[in-house]
Amino acid sequence: MQEALRFRSLDAEPVERAGYVEQARQLRLAPETASRGLSLTIRGLRKSFGDNEVLRGIDLHIPAGQSVAIVGRSGCGKSTLLRLIAGLEIATAGTISLGEDARPEDVRVMFQEPRLLPWARVLSNVEVGLGRERNSPDAQARAESALSEVGLADKRTQWPAVLSGGQKQRVALARALVSQPRVLAFDEPLGALDALTRISMQRLLERVWHDQGFTAILVTHDVTEAVALADRVLVIEDGRIAEDFSVDVPRPRQRGSAELAALEGAILKNLLEGTEDTSDL
């Protein structure tokens, strides 16, 4: 139990679970001041693949603990931006700074595919997420705690093949969370799930984000999902940030509320206008 608390705690002193929830609630009001997340500053970021310039100068500041959704048409460069932030690609020009004390374990990515090792039990798959610390004596306890976080503690000895799509994605989430990342990047993490599973996964993502206070970057094509989860929605068009919407709707958010719907409408309008401009429908 002590282990689990240490894992969840944002604070040095151990707190009761109930007290901790209260603390997390307070954090929601001012995530920036107490967040464990890293702030992210991107300047003049460019990326080309051969002659094809995918990103043409991105300037962006994401405060620590913010959740940012990046939307855009396919091929607009949103996934490339995320891969650059995660260190999976090397920028052609420009810088991404994550703060001085950032370690490799601080940035984690979750993909559309769960990418679990089919030959490792669920718990070992989560242990993979510990990176260089996976051989430490408390590795198993930490992996178990992360599995409980996503509600799959009872599946620890299962093979991934027997899990449902949503469960696999939850294991992938536990693997991303187990090293207590300070930036978590999601590349269409719910794209392959059915509608109901998506909604419960969205709630889970929102909860772990609140509980752990990491900086979240969510690439999605689903504008409804973007406004439901994020503090801020960036629209990327032709390799540039075309629009920066702030979602000032208090949490927990009411799905389908007029406020969210209006914002969603505005973002969609923006995206569609971009499409008409380039007239390549």
Partner: protein
């Protein structure tokens, strides 16, 4: 009823004890029909001796110690040749699967050599090694090399690149990446190679022993032919069948043990 009932299906009750016997119904039936055909004189004993006669010949050879000695010699040749050829094939498969340079350097050559039927080398091998043990080991090793090489290479090349990227993101070193991602991912394909290789191993050995040997099962069969001992010839053939089945069962057991994660090997 579905036509395809070997595919996993939920809820089908299983009777494990009866299930284990089903594969043996057909061989036993064949032996029974064979026996009846011989006893009634439908088949002449000079064409095909009755199973009881074959068993009797086996018993005599067993008592003289000749059978055990020949089986042992063949088994030893098969396993040593298999180990040599298999480990070289596996090493080349690994090297060429993991390194572009190694692949560029050796793959074309290996593909050319592969298309030579290895049994066509028997005359050359006899000239090189005589009818020594090394001749048989060389042929078995050569025969076993290619299926293991090709399937190891294929297995490594087809490991999901997304899993490799995942491993890298989570900070796996090259060694760890190999141990935890690449090797387990290639294993199903390596087993396919292993089972092909076991078949080729027996085939090569028997041909080699028939042509150039002074001991072993193939030699025993050839000797028996010289003396018109047709029961011993049939006995040798039956022993090949049993040994082949044994090797296949062993590799299947190993497969079940190491691929228990694979949906195809999970109990339903």
């Amino acid at each position: 009823m579905s036509l395809i009932d070997s595919l996993p299906r939920a809820g089908a009750p299983k009777l494990p004890r009866v299930d284990g016997l089903i594969p043996w119904i057909l061989p036993l039936a064949i032996i029974l029909i064979w026996q009846v055909a011989c006893v009634t004189g439908f088949v002449s004993a000079r064409v095909l001796p009755a199973p009881t006669d074959v068993a009797l010949a086996g018993w005599k050879l067993l008592q003289s110690g000749e059978l055990v000695r020949n089986i042992w010699v063949s088994f030893w040749r098969a396993s040593v040749g298999f180990l040599i050829g298999g480990s070289i094939g596996f090493s080349f498969g690994l090297a060429n699967g993991l390194s572009q340079l190694s692949s560029k350097l050796t793959d074309t050559t290996l593909q050319m050599v592969r298309n030579i039927p290895h049994l066509a080398l028997i005359p050359l091998v006899i000239l090189w090694f005589g009818i020594d043990e090394s001749a048989k080991l060389f042929l078995v090793a050569l025969g076993v090399f290619f299926p293991i090489y090709l399937n190891t290479l294929h297995g490594i090349r087809t490991v999901d690149p997304q899993l490799i990227e995942m491993g890298r993101i989570y900070g796996m070193s090259d060694g760890e990446l190999f141990r935890r991602v690449i090797f387990p991912g290639a294993l199903p394909s390596i087993f396919v190679g292993l089972r092909f290789a076991l078949g080729i191993m027996w085939l090569t050995l028997i041909v080699a022993e028939t042509i150039a040997a002074s001991s072993g099962l193939g030699y025993m069969a050839m000797q028996a032919r010289e003396f018109m001992l047709i029961d011993v010839v049939v006995l040798s053939i039956l022993i090949y069948a049993l040994l082949g089945k044994l090797a296949d069962s062993a590799s299947r057991a190993l497969e079940r043990l190491t691929l228990s994660w694979h949906p195809a090997f999970q109990k339903h």
